[in-house]
Symmetry: C2
DNA sequence: CCGAAAGTTGGACTTAGTCTAAAACTGTCA
DNA sequence: TGACAGTTTTAGACTAAGTCCAACTTTCGG
């Protein structure tokens, strides 16, 4: 389940290194560049949600952040995720198993939903090509994506 | 909001004709053909959900059905929708504003989500073409669709 | 240090959906 | 007809996801 890339558990405290923790300094700067005032809670939330390859739901983010920051409130996480989304740090997808999920990749891309595990994976924009989208009559298209459902064959490692 | 098509309130009892009510006989037969025993509640649910062009959520179906069948319970509606889906009468989409919605069109097609109203519209399968879907490595594709978001321009009539 | 604005908090509330045990209905067979 | 089994429906409790709000805390500018 965990994506074992970006192994920068550099100056992390003596806890397990399972959660992806980027340097707080860098995260604070990233927030500021997007016009978000970096509070401690926001940095904690960002350090998980901006660094993950999962597509967590809001409640999943809350659970994750609480592990290292137990006194954070649910309202804060929800507000913050909305805030991040408004500021363009996140994208909100509505294709998951009934809940809205957040995707730190803001650039357009497609999605693969694993029917067995429910996991969502990104598909690079150029891996697929949609034709005739500009021929749709009467629709002002703002964005589009292909949603592929199926099962991942073979090479899935935990 | 009401879709004033299929005005076959033929041998219906003396009640109002506001909701789309197909002939109960025909619906019962349709259910039987799909291996669903047609109870009164199931026919009531089917007569709305199989005849609509909306993409209602389960709770919306419940609300609609209760208008003409006030004593129907929520569990029945949820069970029935699941049952219909298993029997291939409905398809369940997971792309709506955070909820699962049902689509009486079982054949593959694409979807347009109106960002302003949240309404979902079908896009015919042949209106778009997705290339390179068979080149996706390591994925057993079961189905796919294009989800288009934007706003409907002009000519929208209810 | 003060006040205002921004941020955070817990908890109540809402909405969507599931679960359950009991009741009601249906078909069958004697 | 009446008894039985299996199916369907029911109300309501429960859970999960998410919103809302009023109060508290923190930060920032002066």
């Amino acid at each position: 389940m965990a994506a074992p890339r970006k192994s920068n558990r550099s100056a992390a405290p003596a806890r397990d290194a399972s959660a992806a923790t980027a340097a707080p300094r860098a995260i604070a700067e990233q927030l500021e560049r997007h016009g978000v005032r970096p509070s401690a809670q926001r940095v904690a939330i960002a350090s998980y949600v901006l660094g993950t390859e999962d597509h967590p739901s809001a409640d999943q983010v809350w659970a994750r952040v609480k592990e290292r920051f137990p006194m954070v409130s649910r309202a804060t996480v929800y507000n913050t995720l909305r805030h991040f989304t408004e500021k363009g740090l996140l994208r909100e997808l509505v294709l998951a198993e009934g809940r809205q999920v957040f995707d730190p990749v803001v650039e357009p891309h497609h999605h693969f939903v694993d029917d067995e595990t429910g996991a969502i994976r990104d598909i690079p924009w150029n891996a697929l090509k949609v034709a005739k989208i500009d021929e749709l009559e009467g629709l002002d298209v703002r964005e589009y994506m292909v949603v592929v459902r199926g099962v991942a064959r073979g090479a899935r490692k935990g």
